[in-house]
């Protein structure tokens, strides 16, 4: 039995995590780094992700790599995203940066579901966005949402 290689991942705040290579390769970003990396490709820096988030990401990858066909995968995923909004956003950003499609789909869908019922004002508050439309432009936008002859 061949011994599996391990990779060390280092987060933005210096925390290190030793994971099986197979688990690390679940992130296409890390896969690319390993394949194109030089001599020291056993330690990979992940500067966009903090230690707490990286630990959760590794937990996700472990489950999906080691038991991809398990019956409880769906309930694992459902429970995995039962976290507060800040953690969820960190997960989404990490999965985007680390190119982990499954986690990106899962976290994006969960955030989208949270946005579904929100009003425009609530979205602006959540993202700290300033309304930069003039009243005239807002009126035109409102009209766009009524029937308009196009061609």
């Amino acid at each position: 039995m061949t011994s599996s290689k391990t990779i060390v991942l280092r987060s933005s705040d210096g925390a290190t995590f030793e994971v099986d290579e197979a688990v690390a390769l679940h992130s296409l970003m890390i896969k690319h780094r390993i394949e194109t990396g030089g001599a020291d490709s056993t330690t990979i820096d992940v500067p966009e992700v903090t230690g707490n988030t990286l630990s959760k990401v590794i937990e996700y990858c472990k489950k999906h790599v080691e038991a991809p066909n398990s019956d409880d995968l769906k309930s694992f995923d459902t429970d995995f995203v039962k976290v507060d909004q800040a953690v969820l956003c960190h997960l989404a950003k990490a999965s985007y940066y680390m190119n982990i499609k499954g986690l990106l789909d899962l976290s994006s869908k969960t955030i989208a579901d949270m946005f579904k019922g929100k009003t425009v004002e609530q979205i602006r508050e959540t993202f700290h966005i300033k309304n930069d439309f003039t009243p005239e432009e807002e009126e035109e936008l409102r009209k766009e949402n009524s029937w308009n002859l196009f061609v």
Binding site: C89, I111, F127, H128, N145, W147, N148
Partner: protein, 427 residues
């Protein structure tokens, strides 16, 4: 119905008539206001002060797009008003094309009332009813095609009927110019159909069949040029031939074979071709004629997620089956996709009734809706005034609605039920 078809070359004068009304004033005005807006990469204003986790996502357009394209279309249209940057992001063609890539059919219109498929979804439906009324003569839906609806006047003289193409999601609409010719030409319209597909036919076309005394001519309208074109041949058919509602799929308009017409019109080659039928359906059609065929349950014929389906109902004594066929991509034939029957009969034993003139089957197939996975496919059925959904995966039922008035599922393909498909991109 015997198809008697003669194709001869006969030159017809090209059409140059155009009574198209054209205005984009409202959209132009908004876009002019925003035309000098370019997305800023980095700024120091409050929008980009990265203090919260949500802002980290908000500053990353790719990640924001990942989230936003998972929202229902009503939210997309609403959130365009958040800021100029969001308006730009959500209106951009790359976003709308990606959003429209996997069409969602969340419900259907019965008459003009909206019936959602997901009765457990508590969020407000996009419609209560279709509020599109550009015509004093009222509006009825003729065909639903990949997110666009073809409508025409509900009342008034046929020679005055206008045809409209509109997108109920974005509320854009267009008026199809009248077919070339005089009042007599307009009175002889036997069929009007829509051809549209977000990638293969993004500038919609209309197909019109004009016919009198058994001679039929096909005309095509191109929205890209605003002109009608006569197809350079005509065909003869039984003068009482019925052209059921059209289904656009794979570059061609197909007619429901219940209407007796056994052909489809390929818009790329502009040729009329014979529609092959599944062998059991063909056998039944040739053995039944006239009233006996009329008494047979109507054949469902429709498109969903790029698949063309035909559903034939067979009732024999106590056995009942809905046989779902799917057309092969090259139009060479059908394959049996799946079959539904015994479990329906178990729950609703009175769906087959024996009348003096024959067996009556209480279920009529309204729609076959394909899911992303095959197992997520469901059938929408009419049972008297009720509409129910049958899920193929677990063979479960759900009542969708109970209509207050009866509605027609035409035996010859004309129906008052049309699927609603979300479509963000403009046409």
């Amino acid at each position: 119905m015997i198809l008697n078809r003669k194709l001869t070359l006969k030159a017809r004068p090209a059409s140059t008539n155009s009574t198209m009304v054209s205005t984009r004033a409202k959209i132009r005005k908004t876009r002019n206001a925003l035309k000098n807006y370019y997305p800023k990469k980095t700024t120091t204003d409050s929008y980009h002060q990265l203090t919260s986790s949500a802002e980290r996502i908000g500053s990353n357009d790719d990640l924001l797009t990942e989230i936003l394209h998972r929202l229902p279309v009503t939210s997309i249209l609403q959130f365009k008003s958040v800021s100029k940057h969001w308006w730009w992001l959500l209106s951009h063609r790359s976003f709308t094309l990606r959003y429209d890539k996997f069409p969602i059919s969340p419900g259907l219109f019965v008459h003009n009332k909206y019936v959602p498929y997901d009765v457990e979804d508590r969020s407000p439906p996009p419609y209560q009813s279709l509020d599109f009324c550009p015509d004093l003569n009222g509006i009825k839906i003729v065909q639903s095609c990949n997110g666009l609806l073809l409508c025409c006047c509900d009342r008034g003289h046929i020679r005055d009927h206008k045809y409209y193409v509109f997108n109920p999601t974005t509320k854009q609409f267009a008026i199809i110019p009248s077919v070339p010719g005089d009042d007599d030409a307009r009175k002889s319209i036997r069929f009007m159909g829509l051809a549209f597909h977000q990638t293969t036919c993004p500038r919609y076309k209309a197909v019109c069949i004009l016919g009198s005394a058994g001679i039929f001519v096909i005309q095509i309208y191109f929205s890209e040029t605003g002109k009608w074109k006569t197809v350079n041949n005509y065909f003869s058919e039984n003068p009482y031939a019925r052209f059921g509602s059209g289904v656009y799929w794979n570059g061609a308009i197909h007619w429901n074979p219940s209407g007796g017409s056994l052909f489809y019109f390929d818009l790329n080659s502009e040729e009329l071709r014979t529609l092959p039928l599944p062998l059991p359906v063909q056998a039944r059609m040739t053995s039944l004629e006239g009233d006996a065929w009329d008494a047979h349950p109507p054949i469902y014929f429709g498109e969903s997620r790029g698949h063309l389906h035909m559903v034939d109902t067979t009732c024999h004594g106590t056995r009942f089956h809905l046989n779902v066929y799917e057309m092969l991509g090259d139009h060479s034939g059908w394959f049996a996709k799946f079959e539904v029957g015994d479990d329906l009969l178990g729950c609703y034993p009175d769906i087959i009734r024996n009348y003096p003139y024959g067996l009556y089957c209480g279920f009529v197939v309204i729609d076959v809706v394909r899911g992303i996975e095959d197992e997520d496919t469901f059938l929408v059925l009419k049972y008297f005034r009720k509409i129910l959904r049958y899920n193929v995966r677990d063979k479960s039922f759900k009542w969708l609605t109970n209509m207050t008035t009866d509605f027609e599922v035409g035996r010859h393909g004309r129906r008052e039920i049309h699927p609603y498909i979300q479509r963000l991109a403009s046409f």
